[in-house]
Symmetry: C2
Subunit: 365 residues, 2 copies
């Protein structure tokens, strides 16, 4: 059977074996496993979320409220924007796909930093759009601008602020200066999946969605419940933009794209900001230990504005080997070899998880 | 801002106000509302599902197991197919989108019956593919074949068996004869969202996914957990096809496309077939009452192989008016005016819900 041509350049995403299987292979007990691979919240999710899920468990036969008005109202209050400026997705991922499907095509390209969130490229390839990237791994606005000017056919620019999987974050002032030079017909997406971490560490990094979209009509802000709010398994995120962009995104949205329990869980999560703040405080307190550990062991690291840290090895070490050896000891982290980097990304865990990581990796260095 | 051209022909899907709001407007108490509009399971979902959701409520901070191996194994056993022949979607809807994105495009069309599941057309339009339809509302294989031959550029044919929103169902034998005349390069999708209802009513309607895909390499079978399994709010469905088609569908799948609780809920639902059978038995017992009611009131109806019945009015009545008057009394059903039909689709409810419907509609006829 012949399929659409763009499929030829797409590799099937390999989900990887479930942890349980890997660990069974290595004979490791579940309680000895430390997963610091997916930037999940190590404290789980708010007890209010668990309560909301249990309270609504017997309503799952009914389709979700497709207006999603309860959650949109709560988000609207949080960000001081109208509910008509908000769209919800099955993860902010899905809002990325709406934006790419609306703005990119075989002739209109997607522009990103060299090493950034993998979904930008995955969704672009699915519709046969070309992705162009900067020479530098980390976000470099001069390079992004130069690519944008040189190409002339860019439909969307993605800025991941702070950047996953590297952790760096541009200053708001520089970002605003950059966007002011971009043609209003090019969409600029500010992916704020980890913004609450960045804003807590350094106010200069903070991008307010309302100010962003009021200053620039061609911007789309993305947020997620998967990280600080602890809802990675529920697949829920959001986009904030002006009416014109919203209209386009809603045209690409399938009805009932978020589950009923995800809507209830996210609403409950928003009602427990204390839980989120507790996680963020632990994060930066613990991150200091990673920085000290790296310095002590002469490992390079990228100053991180997220809930993970990227350690970069010199030529005497091999990130894939280290990742594999850690796995055998029950420590799961992310190898960055597939991004062309000799490094690993480690989610900041709870104190005892981080201690385990230090203890297990030290002999491998 | 300019968007991709296909957006010009797409209307934003209007989710409709949540019931709660409508009812508050009309001053109707929640306990007086009877919702027979979305073909949900009137008995809710299995207690085993509720239990599984509650038991996993505190794990939602972790991303879903993207291999989805537990649920695929359970489905593989149910249908006697290999797990590599199965793909899971956020509703079978999403598998429809994978298929359309892989096979249809600006030059390759989508062919359907005139009145069938709305998502085929919605997804086709999102990628700018043309949809061609038969003159008849209900599935007519001669008409579908004639459109297919005449056009010559059909990428996918959708057969909704039984058909939503009308309820009719083709015989398996006729379907197999039809598919045998279709070129192997055209994908034929058998949407079996309501197959368990059809198979229970008349074994001649039953299509076995394994037999289908082993007989025809160009077929994709779709199933859902939203109907008889009572998981409409959890957004989970599946596709079954041969390796070649699976490879293509997996290329269009975003990682983590189903929530962790949906996977757990679906697995639990599969373990309680008795609950499903109870619902199906009630369905056809109660459907007889609708048929008798229709005959008594001289209303046409379509012989239904699903969990709903379509009532067709003569010119003295107006389906939209009737739907609106019912709504004011707290009865929610689906008006079919937007499909060009003067009729309504009513989900078969529990005995007391159906009695309420008969009582409220009778004075309007």
């Amino acid at each position: 059977m012949r399929f659409n041509r763009q499929l030829e350049s797409i590799k099937v995403y390999e989900g990887g074996k479930p942890i349980e299987l890997v660990m069974r292979e290595y004979g490791i007990a579940p309680e000895d496993i430390v997963k610091l691979a997916s930037n999940e919240n190590p404290f789980g999710t708010s007890p209010k979320v668990v309560e909301a899920i249990k309270a609504n468990a017997d309503t799952v036969h009914m389709y979700p409220d497709d207006s999603m008005i309860e959650l949109k109202t709560a988000l609207g209050e949080k960000f001081d924007v109208d509910t008509s400026n908000i769209i919800l997705g099955a993860g902010s991922d899905q809002v990325i796909s709406f934006a790419i499907n609306a703005k990119a095509n075989k002739h209109k390209k997607v522009l990103t930093a060299r090493t950034t969130f993998a979904m930008y490229e995955i969704y672009a390839k699915q519709i046969g759009a070309t992705v162009i990237k900067t020479p530098s791994h980390q976000h470099n606005l001069d390079e992004i601008y130069s690519k944008y000017k040189k190409d002339g056919d860019v439909g969307i620019i993605f800025l991941c602020l702070p950047n996953n999987p590297l952790g760096e974050c541009l200053d708001k002032e520089d970002v605003f200066k950059f966007i002011s030079k971009i043609d209003e017909n090019t969409m600029v997406v500010v992916d704020g999946a980890y913004q609450d971490f960045a804003a807590a560490k350094d106010p200069k990094k903070k991008i307010d969605p309302k100010e962003l979209i009021e200053t620039f009509p061609n911007t789309l802000y993305l947020g997620t419940f998967s990280k600080s709010y602890g809802l990675g398994g529920m697949r829920i995120g959001y986009g904030i933009a002006n009416e014109e962009i919203m209209q386009a995104l809603y045209k690409m949205r399938p009805p009932f794209n978020v589950t009923s329990l995800s809507l209830k869980a996210a609403k409950a999560a928003l009602e427990d900001e204390a839980f989120v703040q507790m996680g963020i405080e632990n994060n930066f307190k613990e991150m200091k230990k990673y920085e000290e550990f790296a310095k002590k062991n002469k490992i390079d690291f990228i100053d991180s504005y997220t809930n993970f840290i990227t350690l970069l090895f010199d030529k005497t070490k091999n990130s894939s080997e280290i990742a594999q050896l850690l796995l055998k000891k029950g420590i799961i982290i992310r190898d960055l070899k597939s991004y062309g980097l000799n490094g690993i990304r480690v989610t900041i865990g709870k104190p005892e998880q981080n201690e385990r990581f230090f203890t297990e990796i030290e002999p491998l260095l």
